[in-house]
């Protein structure tokens, strides 16, 4: 196993996630695409952790932190989407340009 | 032995254990409920002891037509039962029947159990959504909310055990209970965690387990009188049987986990280490049978809770109690 194969897989996942973040209109799916990007980052971190045989396991521990923060992010994100849905009966990010001007 | 052959044997053993366990449990449920509620049928089917009742039930389910609603999302609808039954099956991988009688003694056994058993939520939610039926969707959502809510106390109860045992390996937890606790007149006394400071944890675990299994008194997701059958409404024939078997298999599995964590698993005082591989499975089965009986007993004696009472119990009582229990376990661990 080479380190490059994992990192390139991560890069591919990241690019796909980025594509999703840009092209998706539904807010929930934008969040899902963000999760794909985070998964890519996690793969990178763990792969490098194992590759470097880190005594502090920093890569794995940061992965755990990312998972925890991602869980928090999804909780809050979905709460916001729910709120928007309740007010506008729609979860389409296209319409969410209230911050304009 | 060849790796693949061993794997095959192990898979077959798990399947057999799970299927037989589920069937026996179904039979036990019928018999016990019959005794508790004076039902006639289970007494006579098949002549003696009503042994044919579960088989007849199974046959009935199998030969029924496998219906898929026209509006349903077919793929997801078909996939859902597999995920549920898979999560029930996977748990068996780490349950030790004896010091060596375990498929994989994972370093993080308990964690694995919690992880794979949380997958059943996914299956239930998929089933509820894919059925294209409002009862099913409601049932699925209820189930998800309930399973998430009760996963937390379950986890907290397990954490207390892990803290006390100092390991997440189920074999290690059993070994920790077999450790001598104190000596009286030269005789070493050991005790399972149920006695050794985890009584609160055991109660939390069992209550949360009943909720995780969606059995009465926590059967809101499939409440017949409110939601017809909840997420199971549109399922019939073999797929329904899979859900059904999955439920009983997880019932046995979760009892096995509880028996391992709180009642000492395959370990029993007075049996030497060398004999445990032979005696262990029977000891574990006896303990599992006791816990399964408890679950059945609960079901036939208690009424169903209301949805808000259910959430209340989880968030306002069990979770704080679980946190307190962890603190107590920590103190217990430090003091002793």
């Amino acid at each position: 196993m080479t380190i490059a194969q994992f990192v390139i897989l991560g890069t591919a996942l990241f690019s796909i996630g980025l594509y999703g973040v840009i092209t998706r209109r539904n807010a929930v799916l934008v969040l899902a695409s963000v999760e794909v990007m985070l998964a890519a980052v996690n793969i990178n971190l763990v792969a490098f952790d194992v590759y470097l045989a880190d005594q502090l396991y920093a890569g794995q521990i940061f992965t755990l932190f990312i998972i925890a923060v991602a869980a928090a992010e999804v909780g809050i994100g979905l709460a916001i989407i729910l709120m928007i849905f309740r007010n506008r009966h729609d979860a389409d990010v296209d319409e969410l340009d209230l911050m304009r001007y | 032995m060849n790796f693949w052959l061993l794997l095959l044997v192990e898979i077959v053993v798990i399947l057999v254990v799970m299927l037989v366990g589920a069937l026996v449990t179904i039979y036990a449920e019928l018999k016990i409920s019959a005794h508790m509620q004076s039902r006639i049928g289970p007494y006579y089917a098949g002549g003696k002891w009503g042994w044919a009742q579960p088989a007849a039930d199974g046959l009935k389910f199998m030969q029924k037509e496998d219906l898929v609603p026209a509006a349903a999302d077919h793929t997801v609808f078909r996939l859902a039962p597999y995920i549920v039954i898979m999560s029930a099956l996977a748990v068996w991988v780490v349950i030790p029947f004896g010091p060596d009688l375990v498929v994989r003694d994972l370093d993080l056994g308990v964690f694995f159990v919690l992880a794979v058993s949380s997958l059943s939520t996914l299956g239930v939610l998929m089933a509820g959504w894919a059925s294209a039926n409002k009862y099913s969707l409601m049932g699925g959502l209820r189930a998800a909310a309930q399973l998430i809510a009760y996963e937390l106390p379950l986890l907290l109860a397990v954490v207390a055990v892990v803290v006390q045992a100092g390991t997440m390996s189920l074999n290690g937890i059993v070994a920790a209970q077999a450790q001598p606790w104190f000596t009286v007149g030269g005789i070493e006394i050991s005790a399972p965690f149920l006695i050794k400071g985890q009584i609160i944890g055991f109660v939390i675990f069992m209550v949360a387990a009943v909720a995780e299994l969606s059995r009465i008194p926590f059967d809101m997701p499939i409440a017949e009188s409110e939601l017809t059958m909840g997420y199971l409404t549109e399922y019939s024939g073999i797929r329904f049987t899979m859900f059904f078997l999955g439920e009983y298999a997880s019932m046995v599995a979760i009892s096995a986990i509880a028996a391992t964590m709180y009642l000492g698993g395959y370990w029993i005082p007075g049996v030497p280490e060398s004999a445990l591989n032979a005696v262990g499975p029977f000891v574990l089965l006896a303990k599992v049978a006791f816990l399964v009986f408890l679950l059945i007993w609960f079901r036939w004696t208690w009424p169903r809770l209301r949805e808000d009472q259910l959430q209340d119990l989880a968030w306002r009582w069990l979770i704080p109690l679980g946190l307190l229990n962890i603190v107590l376990a920590g103190i217990f661990k430090v003091v002793l």
Binding site: L18, V21, I22, V30, V93 | -
Partner: protein, 696 residues
């Protein structure tokens, strides 16, 4: 030096075997470290500091509203204190444990706990007397609206007292000192709806603060001379008789300042004024804090540093001793006299307390360490008993005044019997506790006199007169309260068992505690106290001086007889009684020697008036002047700015605004409010940067 084999014998034997009459002797006791029992003694300090918070937060939800926590704490302290006492009795303990919690320059700030004869005696006292008082308080405070709060503050007091008692250094002692002061303030003002009670609390606090200032100064002098706040370091210097130490230079001032601090807490003349007013607090508070434990803190401090004051060579605090003795003597007699004219039964007992504290202080001044502390010990039992008995009476008749009482002997038999036992103990009738402790003080003073000290004879005379005074006012209190006709309006009846049982328990101690130290017969108490890290000499009687006993007994018989003649209700009419209001003396006593008035008119009002005036003046002229001046300046500036603003600035701003608006209308084409576009653009930027990095 005592031969080695003696030190291996039981300490009691060592003392009985001691030769020599008048002077002191070296107390060379083999002391141990007490093992785990002493090591864990911090528990009795920490538990009562934690429990008040539990009571405040959870008390109201408990079945007894927090009382059970408080009384459990005291029971724990009492049990632990008893265990330590027994351990100390079987093999003497003198050790201390310290933890460094911080540093100020070269001074270590330490927290620790001392376990030796003296502190063990106090642990025992606080725990046992406290336990009885807490039990009693449940009945006394029943129905009080701040019941839970009361027990929280009361338990906090116990915590503070134990911090003080366990202190191995002056810093911790001062912390405890201030904690008990705070608890005292809170509890005196417990019924704060009545403004007089708040005043009493303030008075106690202020008076103590004056003395505390001296205590701080003393502590600082002490620390600077010794180089440490630790008692052990200081006593090591004293024991070494190191005349070159700075302590020898400043010893007198340090000793005087520390003693002034002790005078405040122990209500010695002229700081005694706060204690009678402190009776505004609930009676259990008076019993535990203002009779048994807190007010003895001053005596305890003298005892803790005793070798410093004893100092036979006069290098250190030896010169202060005569001052201590005289102050004690004045206090014991003249404060006792004030009790003659009080109608409030609690005030009678309060002045009695001051007077008895005078005995203790005089004893410490005379160098009679054991005698003074023994009196502290016995006094705690019988005085708290008397207060609780008075409380029981007050509870029954709903009045503090003896003119509303009378004839309660039949109605309240338990209270009566225990109160009489307490009285006999206080006036020192053989064989009750007070006889042994007070007579020992008088005997010690006598010995100081024999040694050739004129002051010793003077204070001895005061002490003997004091024993008459004590007998007289206590006889008066008993006769007015329990005999004759009932003069009040309520329907008195015996208090509930939760109140009478503590009375009985304390009565047992009041009757028997004296037997712990019978000179020449059995003196276990002496050997308990002798367990100290720095052994020292001590003036005390080696055997009972029957001549002195006769003298004192005659004095007290005279006192009781006179009280009987004047105050026994069936014997004299009010008119005859008025005859005893001797012209000059009576008004003098009624007005408490005009000391309170002197403080009020001489210190408080003259300071308060000008102080208020000064504050007003500063407020009116300086503060207001600054504010008004600032206003004027600001208005002037504003005018200037407006002119500048209209002409100069607006032009610039309008131009800038137009420019901003113009560029904004161009730039907002990019500012679409679409998050995804932003994400895409920022990643495009990242890719661009990455490409640039790779290329260059």
């Amino acid at each position: 030096m005592v031969p080695a084999f003696v030190s291996t014998l039981l300490p009691i034997l060592a003392f009985v075997a001691e030769e020599g009459g008048e002077g002191g002797h070296e107390a060379a006791v083999q002391v141990g470290n007490g093992g785990a029992l002493a090591q864990w003694a911090w528990l009795i300090v920490v538990v009562p500091l934690v429990v008040p918070f539990l009571i405040v937060f959870f008390g109201k939800k408990l079945p007894f509203k927090g009382w059970e926590l408080a009384v459990g704490t005291m029971g724990f302290i009492g049990a632990y204190g008893t265990a330590l006492l027994l351990a100390n009795a079987s093999s003497p303990i003198a050790t201390e444990f310290t933890l460094e919690v911080g540093r100020i320059g070269s001074f270590a700030i330490e927290w620790g706990w001392v376990v030796d004869g003296l502190s063990i005696m106090m642990y025992f006292l606080v725990g046992v007397v406290g336990f009885f008082v807490f039990v009693y308080a449940k009945g006394y405070m029943e129905g009080d609206i701040r019941f839970t709060w009361f027990f929280a503050a009361f338990t906090l007091f116990a915590g503070g007292m134990l911090v003080l008692v366990s202190a191995p250094n002056l810093i911790q002692l001062i912390v405890g000192w201030e904690m008990v002061g705070l608890a005292s303030y809170l509890l005196i003002g417990h019924y704060w709806e009545d403004y007089a009670n708040v005043d009493a609390g303030n008075k106690a606090f202020m008076t103590n603060k004056v003395a505390d200032a001296a205590l701080f100064i003393g502590a600082i002098i002490m620390a600077l001379s010794v180089g440490s706040f630790s008692f052990a370091d200081m006593l090591a210097v004293v024991t070494a008789q190191d005349a070159s130490s700075p302590l020898a230079t400043f010893g007198f001032w340090a000793g005087l300042m520390l003693f002034i601090g002790a005078m405040g807490k122990s209500a010695q003349f002229p700081f005694h004024v706060w204690l009678p007013d402190a009776m505004a607090g609930p009676t259990p508070v008076s019993a535990l804090m203002h009779a048994a434990t807190m007010v003895t803190a001053g005596v305890y401090l003298l005892g803790r540093v005793f070798p410093f004051y004893l100092d036979p060579a006069g290098l250190f605090g030896g010169q202060v001793r005569v001052i201590i003795m005289v102050i004690g003597g004045i206090t014991l007699l003249f404060m006792g006299l004030l009790a003659f004219v009080q109608d409030d039964i609690k005030k009678v007992l309060a002045y009695s307390t001051v007077s008895q504290l005078g005995y203790m202080v005089a004893a410490m001044g005379a160098g009679a360490y054991t005698a003074g502390l023994f009196h502290l010990f016995t006094h705690a039992f019988f005085k708290s008993l008397l207060f609780l008995g008075a409380g029981s009476v007050i509870h029954a008749v709903h009045s503090n005044n003896m003119s509303d009482m009378g004839g309660l002997r039949k109605r309240m038999p338990y209270t009566y019997a225990t109160f009489v036992i307490g009285t006999l103990a206080l006036i020192g009738l053989f064989p009750f506790a007070g006889f042994w402790s007070k007579d020992e003080i008088i005997a010690s003073l006598y010995e100081v006199g024999i040694e050739g000290s004129g002051t010793g004879w003077f204070v001895f005379a005061l002490a003997v007169a004091g024993s008459f005074v004590t007998a007289f006012y206590m006889g008066r209190a008993v006769f007015l309260t329990f005999f004759g006709e009932y003069k009040g309006h309520a329907q008195p009846h015996e208090s509930s068992r939760v109140m009478t049982y503590p009375l009985i328990g304390l009565a047992a101690f009041a009757a028997l505690a004296g037997l712990l130290n019978m000179p020449g017969i059995a003196t276990p108490f002496t050997s308990w106290l002798a367990a100290r890290r720095f052994p020292m000499g001590d003036v005390h009687a080696q055997s009972i001086n029957w001549g002195l006993v006769g003298l004192v007994t005659a004095m007290l018989a005279l006192g009781v007889f006179l009280a009987y003649r004047i105050f026994f209700p069936d014997r004299v009419t009010q008119a005859e009684r008025d005859r005893f209001e001797i012209p000059v003396l009576y008004p003098l006593l009624r007005h408490k020697y005009y000391i309170d008035d002197l403080y009020m008119d001489g210190i408080v009002r003259p300071t308060m008036g000008p102080l208020a005036g000064a504050v007003l003046w500063v407020d009116m002229w300086i503060v207001d002047g600054i504010v008004n001046g600032a206003g004027v300046v600001a208005r002037g500036l504003a005018k200037l700015v407006r002119w500048f603003d209209n002409r100069g600035v607006d032009g610039i701003f309008n131009g800038a605004a137009a420019a901003t608006g113009g560029s904004g209308s161009v730039l907002r084409l990019f500012f679409t409010g679409k998050v995804q576009q932003y994400a895409a653009l920022s990643f495009a930027g990242v890719v661009l940067l990455a490409v640039l990095f790779i290329i260059f």
